[in-house]
């Protein structure tokens, strides 16, 4: 691979992967904080207000990190991917600019109000500011997904003689079917992160016998949200997303499943290592005919394998795509198991004493982050070698005037900067969790 192309891809991949660690939690926590504020209003119960304040502090730290790591994402469209921006800006400039106008202002303005303005606002007004932050973060998510969805499944454009793409239909762009299913799948994934983090910290408080009342609220809220959204993640959102890939990116489906040969009654590979030299799976554990059924709802349906497509259009790294996809699906299945069992224990009033289950919830915290990251790598690696599917190759999209040397310089700079940010983040969040939801003010504090 051309070394400038490689460094520009790594540049975007590294910064976006790090960035998305933060928005997935803020988008996931936002509805749960609104829930706490609603409960506090309805029952005039100050415990829920305390809970909302505690989670708003965690939210606030994540929000700042999300903003400062998000600004480079917008810039990189121009700095590192200028050819792509020149050709596609007439279409995706719409969604990216709308994110600025409709989401960023809303979110940042009302987060300030929510964090600093509780004493100046009525309880109802404070609750509404939480709703505004929730809306802002979810609208922001939509416009980013709509942008990515256009790259996955371009609609609503015309191509001019100079090669550039221009908007032809605004409604086709924002009502792109791909965008709405991907959005549903992604937001459900974000709520899963929020739910697991909340349940995990609640479990920590219960196991360590501090802030017990709060620990129960967090575990209960986390488990209820977790069971609903880990099921929604599989069906219908994940299922529909898979169907769209089967219809519009069949070669991607074949690579994700490492299906080398087209066949009726195709098996589903659960575990195994793709052998790219001999076009087979090593050490396979498979469910016969399951892939045909999941894709087409018929056990004998023919599924196109990689051999149906010229190698030039195969995703450029089949094993990585295969592994990320399997990690995402495998973890998603485990999440359903954990949350269904927890919900059953909660329903039968045994969860708060079931130390083994609380331990599982406590330790499960990192895994939704891994699953969401693996899911995004699946989406983006699966689109290769295209930048905009079937329209523009990744190799034709990067900034030809920015040399590999300059790219490495800033990539290493970002790595250093993000290491510092990551350490500060861990330090601050750990401090909030140690301190807990108690009201006595932390040493001078925002």
């Amino acid at each position: 691979m051309d070394s400038a192309l490689l460094v520009h891809r790594l540049h975007f991949a590294f910064t976006v992967t790090f960035h998305y660690l933060f928005p997935q939690l803020t988008m996931g926590l936002a509805p749960l904080i609104v829930w706490f504020k609603t409960m506090a209003l309805r029952h005039s119960d100050d415990t829920y207000n305390q809970a909302a304040r505690f989670w708003a502090r965690i939210f606030g730290i994540n929000f700042v990190l999300g903003v400062v790591t998000g600004i480079p994402m917008e810039f990189q469209f121009g700095t590192n991917w200028s050819h792509f921006s020149r050709f596609a800006g007439g279409v995706i400039g719409q969604t990216l600019a709308m994110e600025g106008m409709f989401a960023f202002f809303l979110e940042s303005a009302f987060l300030g109000l929510f964090l600093y303005g509780e004493k100046k606002l009525s309880p109802r007004g404070h609750c509404w500011s939480a709703v505004a932050v929730f809306l802002g973060s979810w609208i922001s998510g939509f416009f980013i997904i709509a942008t990515d969805a256009w790259m996955q499944h371009p609609v609503g454009y015309t191509r001019l003689p100079d090669g550039s793409f221009q908007l032809a239909s605004f409604w086709q762009l924002v009502l792109n079917r791909w965008a709405w299913w991907q959005y549903a799948h992604n937001m459900s994934g974000a709520v899963i992160t929020g739910a697991f983090v909340m349940a995990s910290i609640g479990a920590f408080y219960l196991l360590s016998k501090q802030h017990v009342e709060h620990g129960r609220i967090y575990v209960r809220t986390g488990v209820v949200a977790g069971v609903i959204f880990s099921l929604l993640q599989l069906f219908p959102t994940g299922d529909r997303q898979g169907k769209l890939i089967a219809d519009h990116q069949p070669v991607t489906l074949a690579a994700m499943e490492a299906l080398f040969e087209s066949q009726p009654g195709a098996p589903l590979v659960l575990i195994g290592q793709p052998d790219m030299e001999n076009h087979k799976i090593d050490n396979p554990i498979v469910v016969p005919k399951a892939l045909s059924f999941l894709t087409y709802r018929r056990w004998e349906a023919n599924v196109a394998g990689l051999d149906s497509f010229p190698p030039g259009v195969w995703p450029s790294n089949v094993p990585l795509l295969y592994y990320c996809y399997h990690i995402m699906v495998g973890l998603g299945t485990i999440f359903i198991a954990i949350m269904v069992v927890s919900a059953f224990l909660l329903w039968s009033r045994r969860l708060f004493d079931a130390r083994w289950m609380l331990w599982i919830l406590l330790l499960s915290l990192p895994f939704p982050y891994i699953a969401n990251t693996a899911g995004w790598i699946t989406a983006e690696m699966g689109r290769q070698p295209w930048l905009a599917y079937n329209l523009l190759k990744t190799a034709d999209g990067y900034s030809k005037t920015v040399s590999a040397g300059n790219g490495w310089f800033t990539l290493l700079g970002f790595m250093g900067m993000y290491t510092v940010l990551g350490l500060l983040f861990i330090f601050l969040v750990r401090r909030e969790i140690e301190h807990g939801p108690a009201e006595e003010v932390l040493a001078p504090h925002a």
Binding site: P72, G90, M98, M101, A109, S403, V420, R431, L442
Partner: protein
């Protein structure tokens, strides 16, 4: 339609400079003006609820630029690759300085975060000024509409200039002085007692430098790029720009010395607006001049398709109305003076 979007992007960038300018300026004067920990927290509280909202104007302006003039966005962002990346790092460091200082009680670390906040704010002001200097001077665009500028070459204005040369450094210093005054006056408005008096004093001391630099930069611009005078010759209404710039400079020092901080702060906002409008007026319809005139990028060869621009006008207007409503509401909520001690920060 292209002209309308040129005006919109210029207005958004001006809004960014006037709004984020005062919190950048607060960072520049921060170490000199605020002596005790209580005073430093007062400065941070004065900008605390609004600084990240102000920064959103940069993002929104960038997004709008991308949407309306994709070719310009692609060309300028890749050409200004290195300084833009450094601006990103500085914005990050500054956010770290502001947001994390409050979480750490140890005075050693507080001094560290204070220094970061100051340095990042000052360097950002210089970078933004130098960036505007580059746009006025022109960049080495090729026939394909792309260029790449190293950080510096020989500090002269030749066919292959760097980001920094004597002219763009001068522009950076103008920005530094202007935002210092702007930020000092903002803090003077938002605080009381010795802190307010001291910041007003800083504005009065820096003002003569700002006046000299302003005149020098205007003279230098007409030498570096004589074409900047064309629009002024063609449209006599342009004479309003120098009137506004020098009028607001005068109003600034008059009000500051009479302790009318609010009027002085408004005057400095008008001054910044005047300078930026003057630059936009001089450039139009060019958006990125090339060192070789034929390769210059104008609003006509960089704009997105007509349909997209029309559609954008609809949602942009709605978005702006909503945004102004939030800002009005938030500034009303947080109006009034910040006390030295108290809740938050």
């Amino acid at each position: 339609m292209e002209t309308l979007w040129f005006i919109i992007v210029a207005v958004m960038l001006t809004a960014y400079v006037v709004l984020d300018g005062f919190d950048l300026g607060a960072g520049i004067i921060y170490l000199i003006a605020a002596k005790t920990d209580g005073e430093r927290r007062a400065v941070l509280r004065a900008i605390g609820p609004v600084w990240d909202g102000n920064e959103v104007w940069l993002l929104a302006a960038g997004g709008t630029l991308y949407f309306a003039f994709p070719q310009l966005y692609a060309s300028s962002f890749s050409g200004f690759y290195l300084p833009l990346m450094m601006v990103l790092w500085l914005l990050m460091l500054r956010a770290i300085g502001i947001e994390f200082r409050v979480h750490i009680a140890n005075p050693v670390w507080r001094n560290f975060f204070d220094a970061i906040f100051f340095l990042a704010s000052a360097l950002l002001a210089i970078f933004f000024g130098a960036a505007l200097g580059n746009v006025i001077r022109g960049v080495p665009l090729g026939p394909d509409g792309y260029f790449f500028e190293p950080l510096w070459t020989n500090w002269r204005i030749g066919p292959n200039p760097g980001i920094l040369d004597w002219y763009t450094v001068l522009a950076g210093l103008v920005a530094l002085a202007a935002l210092t005054v702007h930020g000092a006056l903002y803090v003077a408005v938002k605080t009381e007692g010795p802190l307010s008096a001291r910041t007003r004093g800083i504005a009065v001391v820096v003002w003569p430098m700002l006046s000299v630099l302003t005149i020098a930069s205007l003279a230098a611009s007409s030498i570096v790029r004589p074409a900047v005078m064309n629009n002024y010759r063609r449209h006599p209404v342009g004479v309003l720009v120098p009137i506004v710039v020098f009028g607001s400079l005068g109003a600034m020092i008059w009000a500051a010395s009479k302790s009318k901080e609010k009027i002085a702060f408004l005057a400095s906002g008008v001054y910044l607006t005047g300078m930026l409008v003057g630059a936009a007026f001089a450039l139009y319809p060019i958006v990125l001049p090339a060192r070789i005139d034929a390769y210059s990028l104008s609003i006509y060869n960089t704009a997105a398709g007509h349909h997209g621009l029309v559609v954008g006008l609809v949602w942009w207007t709605v978005g702006l109305a909503l945004t102004l409503a939030y800002f009005f509401f938030i500034y009303r909520m947080f109006r009034g003076k910040v006390r030295i001690e108290g809740e938050g920060y």
